[in-house]
């Protein structure tokens, strides 16, 4: 009975259902799983779990703890890639329900791992189990939103993916307040905080699974006339995921996402240290800078994705890469003239385009490959995120260390990094320019037969 409720056929919207209920359903998922971006708030207290006030012998090292987030991002990419077809088949409600169990269960397992001081259990819980919840949760509403909003796919997916950016804004203060509440003379409060957050997120995500509906097969928005002729890059036909990954267009978009994310994620991880070393601001103010970047990251997702509905996806990415490269190249100058306002503004715009890149890509995929397998194709494309999650920070850290060991002052060590990031974006610009319409031979001839 309960399993039937989760089935795609039981989640078809009836007459009178408003499609504007679907974005909040998607936000219920993305606002929760976006907590992953705030995982660093646990790093310090977890590194002194035994010593409580300071690290003690047997406490976990910061590099060992760093693997938790990396594992989660790797499992996000893998689960999104391998579960995409399953998500398309079972529908958003079952996918959201599964994501809720995995993500919340991962937090509870990780909390248990902290309580018994077993790091492998934290890796398994937050990294592997929670990471699978992240991947399935991330892709679960995307295809449904595109089907509900054929007239504004960028706005629809941008709203959901904005939630992933906003999740850190909720998750970080929630975790900090809960740790304060649970902390005592013998505990940092991390374990009960993780369990509590797991339970809160479970409820929140299940509400999303309860609200979400898929449109009836013949449904379309009032007044909407589906285009019958392809326009520039936008197709009226469909490509299945197995065929899509054989096209150069798919791999060009993979490179586009990889380069955009690599350039942003590496710097995001260094933002606090960077502003402290370049401008000499205090740690508390640097944390404010990181928070401000999170707001730009979140806002950029809805702004750029919905703007792409009017500009087109390709021109939107042209702006990301061209403007991004110019701003990265200017950042060292803003540092040298000690203009903190221009520095913050430049990074804000860069991070808005980093978020915008995530949020616009599903609509770009829909334009090129059609709606039928867009969720599954998006899932495979997210492996670019996993790869960038490893390459971006490694690249930034390596370049910085290399500079410092060769006698460059700490405040100046970021200049070369910024120029290399600008070059990455120039390469991304070229990849985006090379995206062309798909050849007719890739399109499905008999859709019903192909999807059975």
């Amino acid at each position: 009975m309960a399993a039937a409720f989760l089935d795609r056929s039981h989640s078809i919207a009836g007459p009178g259902f408003s499609r504007w209920l679907v974005p909040p359903a998607a936000l219920c998922i993305h606002l929760c799983i976006g907590e992953a971006y705030a995982f660093s708030v646990f790093t310090k207290p977890m590194s002194q779990a035994l010593g409580v006030t300071a690290p003690a012998p047997g406490d976990w090292s910061v590099p060992d703890l760093g693997w938790i987030f990396s594992l989660a991002i790797v499992f996000l990419g893998l689960s999104a890639a391998f579960c995409g077809r399953w998500v398309e088949r079972v529908g958003p409600r079952m996918a959201m329900f599964t994501a809720a169990l995995l993500f919340s269960g991962g937090l509870v397992i990780a909390g248990a791992g902290v309580a018994v001081h077993q790091l492998w259990l934290v890796y398994l819980g937050y990294g592997a189990v929670g990471g699978c919840g992240l991947g399935i949760g991330y892709i679960s509403p995307v295809s449904t939103l595109i089907k509900w909003f054929p007239d504004r796919p960028g706005l629809a997916t941008g709203t959901a993916i904005m939630g992933f950016g906003g999740g850190a804004l909720i998750g970080a203060p929630l975790a900090v307040n809960l740790m304060k509440h649970y902390a005592g003379p013998t505990s940092t409060g991390v374990a009960p905080t993780m369990v509590t957050m797991g339970l809160i997120y479970l409820v929140f995500m299940l509400v999303g699974a309860f609200i979400v509906r898929v449109p009836a097969p013949d449904w379309k928005p009032a007044g909407y006339v589906a285009p019958t002729v392809a326009q520039k890059l936008v197709t009226t036909q469909n490509v299945l995921v197995g065929q899509a990954v054989k096209t150069p267009q798919f791999w060009l978009l993979w490179a586009v996402l990889f380069l955009n994310v690599s350039a942003g994620i590496g710097v995001l991880g260094q933002a606090s240290l960077m502003i402290q070393e370049m401008f000499g601001v205090a740690a508390a103010a640097a944390a404010g800078f990181v928070g401000l970047l999170s707001i730009f990251n979140m806002g950029g997702r809805i702004f750029w994705a919905s703007t792409s509905d009017y500009l087109g996806r390709k021109p939107t990415y042209v702006i990301f890469f061209a403007l991004g490269a110019v701003l990265y190249a200017l950042v060292p100058t803003f540092g040298h003239i000690h203009s903190i306002v221009l520095f913050v503004l430049a990074y804000g715009i860069i991070l808005s385009m980093y978020g915008g890149g995530f949020a616009t890509i599903p609509a770009y995929l829909r334009d090129l490959f059609g709606t039928v397998n867009v969720g599954a194709i998006h899932g495979v494309l997210l492996t670019a995120w996993s790869a960038a999650g490893i390459v971006g920070p490694v690249l930034v850290n390596y370049i910085r260390e290399y500079q410092i060991t060769h006698g460059v002052a700490k405040a100046d060590a970021y200049s070369v990094t910024m120029y290399i990031m600008a070059v990455l974006l120039v390469v991304g610009f070229v990849c985006n320019i090379l995206v062309r319409r798909l050849d007719e031979r890739h399109y499905v001839k008999n859709l019903q037969e192909a999807t059975q």
């Binding site: 259902f17 936000l27 913050v344």
Partner: protein
């Protein structure tokens, strides 16, 4: 004819509740973050 307004108001109520459910935590998160961000310019 008389059932239509009731149906519309029911849908509107659901919409308001659903958006508040996600909007309030998000607004709280943005507010807390902005409060911290102010320290950057002080």
């Amino acid at each position: 004819m008389s059932t239509q307004p009731a149906s519309d108001s029911g849908t509107s109520a659901k919409l308001v509740l659903a958006w508040l459910f996600v909007g309030i935590p998000l607004a709280w998160g943005v507010w807390v973050t902005l409060q911290n961000a102010v320290k950057l310019f002080q």
